[in-house]
């Protein structure tokens, strides 16, 4: 095994070597290395590295113990001195322990969170060689759409032509969004995460079946696999395998398996899987059943391919696209479009993919946010170390005499270093124990609060924890050894003669470290403000549509004609419901704000060539939609029953008007467009935000339609509960077979911002912690500072300086540092936060006052922190300070 990557952890190896040097036994290093490579070969590098560290740490402890046998006396003395120091400076000791504990706890919690975010989709065998096909569609040379779903033939084509492709799996939920299942006559349920998948789906991914056989469960037509929790919910203790569930009252599916619930760190989550051979029933492919394999247009399939290990995915992608261009170039040219496929690594989907039609768009992670949190984690930890260094070196003056006396009595510098390091070990030891307790205590709260399942298990799965452990140990060591070296370096003659007044170098370093701390604080506060401003911008932006107090009920039937029972009864239901005094109005549409629009057509100006067509999203509405939702018409009019021609009328949004190329909304009215091979008369222009403000507006068209996806009811906020119960009763009366599945529109719309809100909270929480740690350090520094300058203050007061003068004098220095820190922090924050804001299609501006506010907040906090010490110093009687002169 001469592989370069397979090396023992460097730090541990170095430690081992040091130990062996003292013990004059290098054989042990060789022995451990030999076994290390053996484990490497058999169980992998991560296991081996863990073993190596274990060996190293235990041997280290044994080594220390063996030393203590003959240095017990010395150790005992270190121990006593350390304890005396702790008790003599209780305040400082507490500040040190608190700073280190909070810093380390925050660090570990963030590390756990990050390791959760990075663990997505890594649990599958061969996961690093699985790719999703991303679909890019170009029209007239312009990129029209970038989708997470693609055309089915892509995978078929790749499997046939390239030996590198081991297998592919497809999944689609087209036509299934509003599926309802019934079991027997009385149980009806709606599962939202239903997919039609190829049999390979269960074998490529690690979604184990509790009952049934992964290889055969989805191989035939009309077979279904349901999740454990769904099985529990609807079948209780019974074994669901072999039972029949009816899909939309039409097709009977036999349950052939029960799967374990999908773990939360999977980008793909499902409740029901239907076999691929059922696709022709669900999607009505009677006329051409091969479309699910061979279609070049139907971009509705999540497609995954697994490659042989070691395949260069980039090369394969180029090869594939080149071959496509050669084979299909003519066809593309004729129809003025071009297709492109991108291989997207499975493990990157959660954090780095933000395509249209993601499986769980609201649960997609944000790689940028995770990077920023990693930065914060490092900041907090470094802050904690810096604090210790700062406080310890600041106390050098107080301990200089002690060092002098010890040296005169015959202590070597080495022993003094050990003594100071021993003091540090005590403090860090206590802090580590407290950190462990605190992290274990906080973990469940943080899990609930962030929705991430934190566990050490995930952390140890990725090899990155070894690097982390090394950095952590190295930093912890440095934070202790630096002050020890400084403190032990004083020359006895200089100190004891009292000539050591100030070490300029030490002060410079300390100032630099304090500026770093303050800069981090300013940056984090400004960052938090910006995150919350963006969130409140999105929540409070006038959407152009009134979504408050709106109850929405899912209706079946979306792309297909609704079941007759529904159409016939809807009008009757509506008339009945509207008569209720608390119901202000009812409307039905194929989409409501915040929900996907599933209709998609090509549209172009009637006078233009069809090749200029672009894709437009179509929402079918009724006469009441626009007035009920309070949508403002920019031009033209709403649909009206008095116009018989309105079934060929269309209302467009502003984006569509712009893309069609009309100068303004007024001019577009009464013009004609082509869509669906028919002519449509533009009667109005409107604009409101259909999608959360993260995404850009897309062209939309509104037509009158009998198809219904949602029934929306505006309610009076008074007696809401009674009204809702009444509506439910009526619904069940009119539509006994359709589950009453409702939500409140404003809640469901704002739920799209859940991720951002969580990020904001985490960001705010940890900024608060960093500032707290910085304050602990400042408090100690200020106290030390005033002690140092007590004589100066005494003299000044004796010469007539007022308390105010002294206060200003002492505070000034710190405020100057804050100002200095802000100068560093602002450009950095501006740059980082601007990058984060790029995630949002509609965003707030970063204004100067944010930084002013951050600066002001930090200044005030610093002033408050140091005030106690400063006042104490300023109020002190000059006699106390000067009488020994």
């Amino acid at each position: 095994m001469s592989d370069k990557t397979l090396k023992p952890p460097r730090l541990a190896r170095w430690l081992f070597k040091r130990m062996s040097k003292y013990q004059e036994n290098y054989a042990i290093v060789g022995d451990v290395e030999e076994v290390f490579f053996m484990i490497c070969r058999e169980e992998g590098h991560t296991k081996a590295a863990m073993w190596y560290w274990h060996q190293c740490l235990v041997s280290l402890v044994l080594y220390w113990l063996s030393l203590s046998k003959w240095r017990a006396a010395m150790l005992k003395s270190y121990f006593i001195i350390a304890f005396r120091t702790y008790f003599r400076n209780k305040g400082i000791t507490l500040v040190n322990i608190a700073g280190l504990t909070i810093g380390m706890s925050a660090f570990f919690i963030i590390v756990l969170y990050i390791s959760y975010e990075r663990s997505f989709d890594k649990g599958h065998e061969n996961s690093e060689n699985i790719y999703r096909l991303q679909y890019n569609l170009y029209k007239e040379g312009q990129q029209l759409r970038t989708l997470a779903t693609t055309v089915p033939v892509a995978a078929t084509f790749m499997k046939e032509n390239y030996a590198e492709v081991i297998d592919y799996a497809r999944a689609t939920r087209d036509f299934l969004e509003y599926a309802a299942f019934s079991h027997g006559t009385d149980v009806t349920f709606r599962a939202s995460r239903i997919f039609v998948v190829t049999p390979s789906f269960l074998t490529m991914f690690n979604f184990p079946l509790l009952k049934g056989d992964s290889k055969t469960a989805l191989s035939g037509p009309l077979q279904a696999v349901i999740s454990q929790s769904l099985a529990q919910k609807y079948f209780g203790g019974e074994n669901p395998v072999g039972k029949v569930i009816t899909y939309n009252n039409r097709y009977d599916f036999k349950i052939t398996g029960v799967s374990e619930d999908v773990p939360s760190n999977s980008h793909f989550k499902f409740d029901v899987l239907l076999s691929y051979k059922s696709l022709s029933y669900i999607a009505h492919l009677e006329e051409d059943s091969t479309r699910g394999e061979m279609d070049w247009q139907w971009a509705g399939f999540y497609t995954y391919i697994s490659l042989k290990p070691g395949t260069d995915s980039q090369k394969l992608q180029e090869k594939f696209n080149a071959q496509l261009a050669a084979e299909r170039g003519k066809d593309w040219e004729k129809n003025h479009y071009r297709q492109e496929f991108v291989l997207q690594p499975l493990e990157d989907i959660h954090l780095f993919s933000n395509l249209a039609e993601e499986v769980e768009p609201d649960e997609q992670g944000d790689g940028n946010a995770v990077k920023m949190l990693s930065l914060i984690a490092i900041f907090v930890l470094v802050l904690a170390w810096v604090n210790y260094i700062n406080i310890s070196t600041a106390r050098a003056m107080e301990r200089a005499k002690e060092v002098g006396v010890r040296k005169v009595s015959g202590a070597h510098r080495k022993e003094l270093v050990k003594q100071f390091f021993f003091e540090y070990l005590g403090i860090i030891g206590i802090s580590i124990i407290l950190t462990a307790l605190l992290v274990l205590e906080i973990k469940p709260y943080f899990s609930r609060f962030s929705g991430a399942e934190l566990s050490f298990h995930l952390l140890f799965q990725s090899p990155f924890w070894i690097k982390l452990a090394e950095v952590f140990l190295a930093g912890t060591f440095l934070a202790g050894i630096y002050p020890a070296l400084i403190l032990s370096s004083f020359k006895p003659i200089v100190v004891l003669k009292g000539r050591l007044t100030k070490s300029i170098k030490g002060i410079r370093l300390r100032r630099f470290l304090v500026v770093c701390q303050l800069a981090i604080s300013v940056a984090l506060i400004a960052g938090t403000i910006i995150v919350f401003l963006q969130i409140s911008f999105m929540l409070n932006k006038d959407l152009g549509i009134d979504i408050d107090q709106t109850l929405v009920v899912h209706a079946p039937g979306m792309n297909m004609a609704p079941p007759p029972v529904f159409s016939n009864n809807l009008d009757a239901f509506r008339e009945e419901v509207v008569r209720h005094p608390r119901v202000l109005g009812v409307t039905s549409a194929t989409s409501v704000p915040g929900e996907e629009i599933l209709w998609e057509k090509f549209i172009w100006k009637k006078e233009d060539h069809p090749s200029l067509a672009f894709q437009i999203r179509v929402i079918g509405i009724d006469y009441d939609f626009i007035p009920l939702f309070g949508v403002n018409l920019l031009a033209g009019r709403n649909f009206a029953e008095s116009f018989a021609t309105d079934n060929q009328a269309i209302i467009l949004n502003e984006t569509a008007i712009r893309e069609l190329g009309y100068e303004d909304s007024e001019k577009a009215v009464h013009r004609k467009v082509s869509m669906w091979g028919e002519d449509w008369n533009i009667i109005g222009v409107l604009d409101y935000y259909q999608h959360p403000l993260k995404t850009a507006q897309v062209p939309r068209a509104y037509i009158l339609s009998g198809n219904r996806g949602y029934v929306a009811l505006k309610l009076d906020p008074e007696e809401l509960h009674q009204t809702m119960a009444w509506i439910k009763k009526k619904w069940e009366e009119y539509f006994p077979s359709i589950p009453y599945d409702y939500f409140f529109l404003d809640e469901s719309f704002n739920r799209h911002y859940r991720n951002e809100q969580m990020f904001g909270k985490i960001f705010g929480l940890f900024s608060g912690l960093t500032i707290f740690i910085a304050c602990l350090g400042l408090f100690a520094l200020a106290s030390h500072n005033s002690v140092q300058r007590s004589k100066e203050i005494g003299i000044r007061k004796a010469f007539g300086a007022s308390v105010r003068n002294i206060y200003v004098l002492l505070s000034e220095e710190f405020l100057r540092l804050v100002l200095f820190a802000s100068v560093f922090a602002i450009p950095f924050t501006y740059f980082q936060m601007n990058k984060w804001l790029q995630n949002f299609a509609f965003r707030t501006h970063i204004e100067w006052w944010i930084f002013a506010a951050a600066w002001l907040i930090v200044s005030v906090v610093v002033l408050l922190t140091i005030s106690y010490q400063t006042f104490k110093a300023a109020l002190a009687n000059p006699v106390d300070a000067l009488r020994y002169e």
Binding site: Y26, F37, S59, L62
Partner: protein
């Protein structure tokens, strides 16, 4: 003075290994004999004790593959070590001979 159990295990392991008794092998042998896996630090501490007591002697050998150029230290039993083993064997068997098989109920 008779040997402790740990000392016996180590000495027996070294005896088994003959010429090839160095760290890694001794650790493996002990694992094989007793089912206990130990940290190298402990291993060498115990070996050092045995050397100090004069039951075992060492000589430096060459390095081997995958050792990063570090030498191996080989251990072998001294006359004294062999004698001590022999004595503890006699002691133990005489001890156990005095207890009948049926003395303890099998759990």
């Amino acid at each position: 003075m008779s040997l402790t159990m740990t000392e016996q295990i180590y000495l027996i392991a070294i005896w088994h290994l003959k010429e090839s008794a160095y760290g890694v092998k001794i650790r493996e042998k002990i694992l094989e004999l007793t089912g206990k896996s130990m940290v190298f630090g402990t291993l060498y501490n115990n070996l050092d004790t045995l050397v100090k007591k004069g039951y075992v002697e060492t000589h430096k050998g060459s390095s081997g593959p995958n050792r990063g150029g570090n030498i191996r230290i080989f251990y072998s039993l001294t006359k004294e070590g062999e004698k001590a083993l022999q004595e503890s064997r006699e002691l133990q068997s005489s001890l156990w001979d005095s207890v009948p098989e049926s003395a303890f109920i099998k759990m």
